[in-house]
């Protein structure tokens, strides 16, 4: 899922310093799961901003709403009435949701309350790690199920580099060396010979580098 984290409250408050009434919109999708922008987090933020502004002597009115998802256009219209008299909209969705909101409410200033970080999953309750490099051409079958694009800090396809020591990446003792993990896994699978094949340079045009991407399923497009 998409993992995002809240921006510092002070930064968000600074952005709405001239606003008298704001709408805070949460999202029941990914950001609810990673505890950054769900209904609860939205209400906590609204409450905190109200009190902060009252202490400053510049009261703030807030309206909160949590959309099923902000990344599907059909879930945005229910907010049409709510946005009419607000000075700004704070979206607690990932970068995608903020953009859909901005697209519909062309005359309203959209403020992202979150920094969208990466796509990944949880390890233990409360911790999420980056897992997928979004490279557009998955090669997990060649690397024992470990993504070398994102879990190797240098996206090496014929690893490991000379900085791998004690199973850790040179950039930090807290980062596992993906290639150590790949080696261990391939060894366990009895497929070490596969690692002797030289992987050719990657086609990065399928990744972000080729420009904004699109995915289509013709068979469901009814026109």
């Amino acid at each position: 899922m998409i993992i995002a984290q809240q921006k510092p409250l002070k930064d968000i408050a600074a952005l709405i310093s001239d606003c008298k009434k704001v709408l805070l919109v949460g999202c029941a999708g990914c950001v609810t799961v990673c505890l950054a922008g769900g209904e609860k987090e939205t209400e906590i933020m609204a409450s905190s901003l109200r009190m902060m502004r009252e202490v400053e002597g510049k009261p703030l009115q807030t309206v909160t709403y949590t959309a099923t998802r902000q990344c599907d256009p059909e879930y945005i219209p229910p907010m049409d009435e709510m946005v009419k008299d607000v000075d700004a909209i704070i979206s607690l969705a990932c970068g995608v949701g903020v953009q859909y909101m901005a697209e519909r409410y062309t005359d309203k200033w959209l403020i992202p309350a979150l920094d969208t970080k990466f796509i990944g999953g949880s390890t233990v309750h409360g911790e999420w790690v980056e897992k997928c490099g979004l490279c557009g051409e998955c090669i997990l079958h060649k690397t024992g199920g470990i993504c070398p694009i994102i879990r190797c800090s240098k996206s090496i396809l014929n690893g490991p580099c000379g900085g791998s020591q004690y199973g850790k990446c040179e950039i930090s003792k807290d980062v596992d060396c993906a290639w150590q993990l790949i080696y261990d896994k391939m060894k366990a699978l009895g497929k070490l010979d596969k690692l002797m094949e030289i992987q050719p340079p990657k086609d990065w045009s399928k990744s972000r580098d080729g420009g904004p991407r699109k995915a289509v399923r013709e068979d469901v497009m009814i026109g």
Binding site: S153, K154, S155, I156, L157, N158, G159, P160, C161, G162, G163, S164, Q165, Y166, G167, K168, C169, E170, I171, C177, Q180, Y183, D184, L192, L195, M196, I198, Q199, P200, P201, K202, W204
Partner: protein
């Protein structure tokens, strides 16, 4: 047969090679570089020029190489995968060749987090393995990385790579070395050796697989100036092993610099005489280039062999 470079000839003819390293400066003047080059000239066969080592901005390896060549030493251009995409790499490869360079060392490159521009974008379009292979194809198959033909003069480099017997997983390091040889590596420089025992175990496996018959391995060595330098490398450089005994030896020495030089010379003599399969040494006198002539001389490696230019391509 004509050789690609002086280093190529020396290694292929079975002579024990000596290479050293010059680190370009963090500014635009090459006076210091020229000074070091002149000093080392008769004591080395070729010298590496690092490529923004530790991700710190310095004069590029190729630009520095032009000056080093002008001083009479054969440069070994280092190219990392960190800063350039394949388009820039090939442009630099063509450029380096037409500027007279003939040796190229391919490496991944330290992550930019270690350097003075940690917020920069991380390129790593191709990795060192792919660079070695592509460099060989440019020379032998006359094609660009994309497969398109190079219609006129192709860049013809003596291709080098690195091996680190001290990184993990240990067993796989020999496999990876073999993979680099398959890809086209012709000479290898290892990470600095302090743990001689581990290096010997590595070389034993290398010999078992006949890899020393297919590629020239140069043992990497560094003279240490102080026990603090040793300690720093032990704790802060990923992929390096410095045994406590070495730190102790320097700590208890009366003249640590002399002790560091003595140790380096001992190591050179040891790998030359006792470790079969080592075809030369790579002396990395970090920030101490002046010491190279003494080390080479006292190790019995002076004078260096002469190579007739007519033997080179």
């Amino acid at each position: 047969m004509k050789y690609l470079s002086k280093l190529h000839k020396i290694l292929d003819s079975g002579q024990f090679a000596v290479t050293a390293e010059i680190g370009p400066p963090k500014h635009a003047s090459v006076e210091g570089v020229k000074h070091h080059a002149h000093m080392m000239k008769d004591y080395v066969d070729a010298t590496n020029i690092t490529d923004c080592q530790t991700a710190i901005v310095r004069i590029s390896s190729i630009a520095t190489g032009v000056h080093v060549l002008g001083c009479g030493i054969e440069p070994i251009v280092q190219m990392t995968c960190r800063d350039r995409n394949r388009i820039a790499m090939q442009a630099d490869i063509l450029g380096a060749y037409c500027l007279g360079m003939r040796n190229m060392l391919c490496l991944s490159g330290d992550h930019q987090k270690f350097g003075n521009h940690p917020t920069s974008k991380n390129v790593y379009d191709v990795d060192s393995m792919q660079l070695i292979q592509s460099l060989r194809r440019m020379r032998d198959d006359k094609v660009f990385f994309s497969g398109e033909e190079i219609k006129e003069q192709e860049p013809r480099f003596f291709i080098g790579a690195v091996a680190n017997p001290f990184a993990d997983p240990f067993e796989y390091r020999i496999d990876r070395l073999e993979k680099k040889v398959e890809a086209g590596a012709q000479f290898i420089q290892t990470q600095c050796i302090f743990d001689m025992e581990r290096f010997e175990r590595f070389m034993e496996k290398v010999r078992e697989r006949g890899i020393d018959q297919r590629v020239h391995i140069l043992a990497g060595l560094t003279p240490l100036k102080s026990w603090r330098a040793a300690k720093y490398m032990q704790s802060n450089v990923s992929g390096m092993i410095v045994p406590d005994s070495i730190v102790e030896r320097l700590k208890s020495a009366e003249d640590p610099k002399k002790e560091g030089v003595d140790l380096c010379i001992e190591q050179i003599k040891y790998v030359k005489e006792k470790v079969k399969g080592v075809h030369g040494v790579h002396v990395m006198a970090i920030a101490w280039e002046e010491i190279v002539p003494e080390i080479v001389e006292r190790s019995g490696l002076y004078p260096r062999p002469q190579v007739d230019p007519s033997e080179l391509e």
